[in-house]
Amino acid sequence: MNDNNINAQPDREELNSGMKKENINRISGYSNTKATLALAKASFRSIIRSPSAVVFTLAFPLIFILVFGFLGGGGTHIDIGISPGSDLKNPVIVMLEKTGMIRLVKDKSKKDFAKLLEKGNVDAMIDVHRKVNSVAYSVNVVYTSASMDKGNILKSVLNNLFYDKNLKPSIAEIKESTIHGREYKTIDFILPGQLGFSLLSTGVFGTAFVFLSLRQTLVIKRFFATPVKRSSIVIGEGIARIGFALIGALFIIVLGNLFFGFTLVHGAITVVNMLVLATLGVIVFMGFGFIISGIAKNESMVPPISNIVTLPQFLLSGTFFSIEAFPKWLQPISRALPLTYLNDAMRKVAFEGLNLWDVKFQIMILVIWGIGIYAVAVKVFKWE
């Protein structure tokens, strides 16, 4: 170091000539795009070097996927579809209704049931009718390979019924068959939920922290002393954050697919659709981050406020459990949260193979949330 300083004198000449040359080459046109991209690049570099961003976006979701991937689903219940035209008063159905873990699904057409059965959304279908010229009933059960484990439980339940002393005289036969469906694994439920959570935390925490700290350390003020536009700062930051979130999402999806057999019905197209949904999700969630960076007075206020936004969604938006598992009074709250719709859309796209147009309702709800959040963000966001 010292040597450089002593030698500073000769450098002066170079400095002089260098500056004059550059003055001639002064650039007159100013490019907002260039400024935005420079910010996006800087922000992206900063994000990938920030441990908390990497932990929240990648490590947490992966740990949850690992834990739940190996844990398997708890709280089993069996959904049984009742064939239209079945006699509902018959003793078999009455008996099934009394069995705690069995839920009966009625009032659906045969076509609907066939779809549900294939996806494993119902675990079996049952058709009960009185045999011709007999007091006994004939029970026809269709299982699905999409949910064979639950089918097997049902099988034993039915066998018990068949040998039940009280019922035996009235049941003549049980016919069983299995249709081929897609296997719905725990990972197919858990992964989209974790992906949604990852997008939520990177959008909310990341954005809130970055803008608060840029504001407090006067980085933004220094930016304002350059010709850069405010929109460039927001868009540049957004591009970086979305880019990072998408890389994280891709990583989670690919890892889930390779190691846990996460179902991607249409392969790469499904992945692209999921990434489109992820982009929409991050944009909406970043809105929360902008709001929080505006209302938080200092960095220690960011986590509590962020948790108010993320925790309820983490718990109630079907990240770990299906919303149907919640008590009835809680379900409307779940159905009001944006993450619920992102998770829902992700699962439909990934496992059921729907395209983006098929999940337009979920997308619409997210867009409405986005409009609302950004309307608030514009009001409370602070630059200085």
Binding site: M1, N25, I27, G29, K34, L37, S50, T217, P227
Partner: protein, 254 residues
């Protein structure tokens, strides 16, 4: 400075915050290619005045022209021809010096080689270091490097030497003089009068939002002396800082 063409012209500048008047009826010109010092105690309105000229803060009333551009309507044009060093400004986290310079090059739309910018302020050895890891003097030199990226006509330095040791301070003086000799006008605030005396062609004393004196350091001192002022202690040919520099050497300790 022989050229007396004003590059910055401030007329009747007023800045009010609710009831508090930070700047009241301030007028001055900064000439092309001079080093102009704004001096005064904390809270006198120096930084506020600078930030209004830099288009970072809105004024209450008055007129400011920077190189022919009005701060009211041509803030964007002004930003392209000035370089700004803020008091205590931070830089984007997790980036090294080269990456920060690249970022600012993008923000200014300037085509520069980051390494050359660092060489201008003698930080080429710290190219891969983070801003946070720099010493006080290095931080200030880096800040000055970011003000030079767009080859500005004017740079504003807000207390660039506060907190630096004598060696780093002197080194920064050299750098500032160098920048001026390349044709850049420099506006600087400082609390050190020896610094202002050494560095500035003209200084303005700001007190309670008003300019109470504006002249060359020499003229101001002569005026005071001719009014009959005398120092209590006989002035010696050296001061304690000269002793410090003489004992510890001129080299930087960074």
């Amino acid at each position: 400075m022989e050229t007396k063409k004003a590059i910055i012209s401030v007329k009747n500048l007023v800045k009010k915050y609710d009831d508090f008047v930070a700047v009241q009826d301030l007028s001055f010109d900064v000439y092309e290619n001079e080093i102009f010092g704004l001096l005064g105690p904390n809270g006198a309105g120096k930084t506020t005045t600078l930030e209004i000229i830099e288009t970072l803060r809105a004024k209450t009333s008055g007129e400011i022209i920077v190189d022919g551009f009005s701060v009211d309507k041509q803030a964007h044009e002004i930003k392209q021809i000035i370089g700004v060093q803020l008091q205590a400004a931070g830089y984007y986290p997790n980036l090294n010096l080269i990456e920060l310079i690249e970022l600012f090059a993008g923000l200014y739309g300037a085509n520069i080689k980051p390494m050359e910018m660092l060489e201008k302020v003698n930080l080429q050895d710290k190219a891969k270091a983070k801003y946070k890891a720099l010493s006080g003097g290095q931080k200030q030199r880096f800040s000055i490097a970011t003000t030079l990226i767009n080859q500005p006509k004017i740079i504003f330095l807000d207390e660039p030497t506060t907190g630096l040791d004598p060696q780093a301070r002197r080194n920064l003086w050299d750098l500032i003089t160098e920048i001026r000799s390349n044709g850049t006008t420099v506006v600087i605030t400082t609390h050190y009068m020896d610094e202002a005396e050494q560095l500035c062609d003209r200084v303005a004393f700001v007190e309670r939002g008003q300019i109470i004196a504006l002249d060359t350091p020499d003229n101001l001192i002569d005026k005071l002396v001719s009014s009959g002022f005398e120092r209590k202690k006989e002035v010696k040919k050296a001061n304690l800082e000269d002793v410090f520099i003489n004992l510890t050497g001129k080299e930087w300790r960074e």
